[in-house]
Symmetry: C2
Subunit: 95 residues, 2 copies
DNA sequence: ACAGACTAGTTTGCGGTACAGACTAGTCTG
DNA sequence: CAGACTAGTCTGTACCGCAAACTAGTCTGT
C-alpha cells in the first residue's frame, strides 16, 4: 500500500528534509533559522531522522565551537522521492 | 507564517478531503472503502472535519437504511487550496 | 421466526509524539 | 567575569491517532 511515510510527513521534518534535498548539507543553526523550531525540537527531530537513517549527522568543530552538519543519506533521498510520489498520487485524485 | 493546516495534514483526513474535493459528495461506505479506515476511525476523522466546518455531514435514509452523505464546505475547499499552496511552497524549495 | 451480515456510528483505552521550557556544557565577546 | 552564543539533552504536558468493543436499527437467507 502506498502510504505516506510518517517520519517525513511530520511538518517539521518535512521542512528539514525538503531543505536538505535542496542544499545537500546544512548546519544546525541554518536549519533552526529556516524551520523556526526551538533547539530542543530540532534536535529531537534530527535524532528521529538519524534513527531511520534518513540523514547523517556529523559533529565537527568550527575552530573550537561545535558545529553540527546534517546531510541527507541516499536512503533518505529515496524515501523523500517516494513520499513525493505518494503525495502526488493523493493530490491527483482531487482534480 | 504559511504553515500546514494540521487538520488537513493528517493522512487519513488528507485522503478524505482530497476525495471530497474530487467528487463533491460521498457517502460513508464509499469513503471507508477508498480510505481503508475502520468505521470508528473514519467516524472520528469526519467528526473533526465537521468541528472545523471543513465538511458538512447530512444524515439521511436510503429507504430505511441510514445513509450518511459528506460534502466539502466552501471553507473546507478554501482550506484545502491553502494547504496545497503551502505544500507546494515547501516542495518547491527542494529542487 | 431467527441468525448473521450490513449501515453507521459512539466510546474507551493504549501508546506514541510533538512541543515548550528548563537544564548542561563549553566558548567567545566586552 | 557577566552575558550571549553553539548545540544539545531531559522532562512534563497535552493531544491525537488507532483499534477494538459496543450500540442500534435493517435486510437477507433458511
Amino acid at each position: 500500500m502506498r502510504d505516506l511515510d510518517r517520519i517525513i510527513h511530520e511538518p517539521a521534518r518535512l521542512q528539514i528534509v525538503a531543505l536538505l534535498a535542496a542544499v545537500k548539507e546544512a548546519d544546525f543553526l541554518f536549519l533552526q533559522r529556516e524551520t523556526a523550531l526551538t533547539k530542543g525540537n530540532l534536535s529531537s527531530h534530527l535524532g528521529k531522522l538519524e534513527e531511520t537513517a534518513y540523514v547523517e549527522i556529523e559533529k565537527t568543530f568550527r575552530g573550537k565551537i561545535p558545529l553540527t552538519v546534517v546531510r541527507l543519506t541516499p536512503k533518505g533521498r529515496v524515501a523523500f522521492t517516494e513520499y513525493r510520489k505518494a503525495l502526488n498520487g493523493l493530490m491527483r485524485k482531487s482534480q
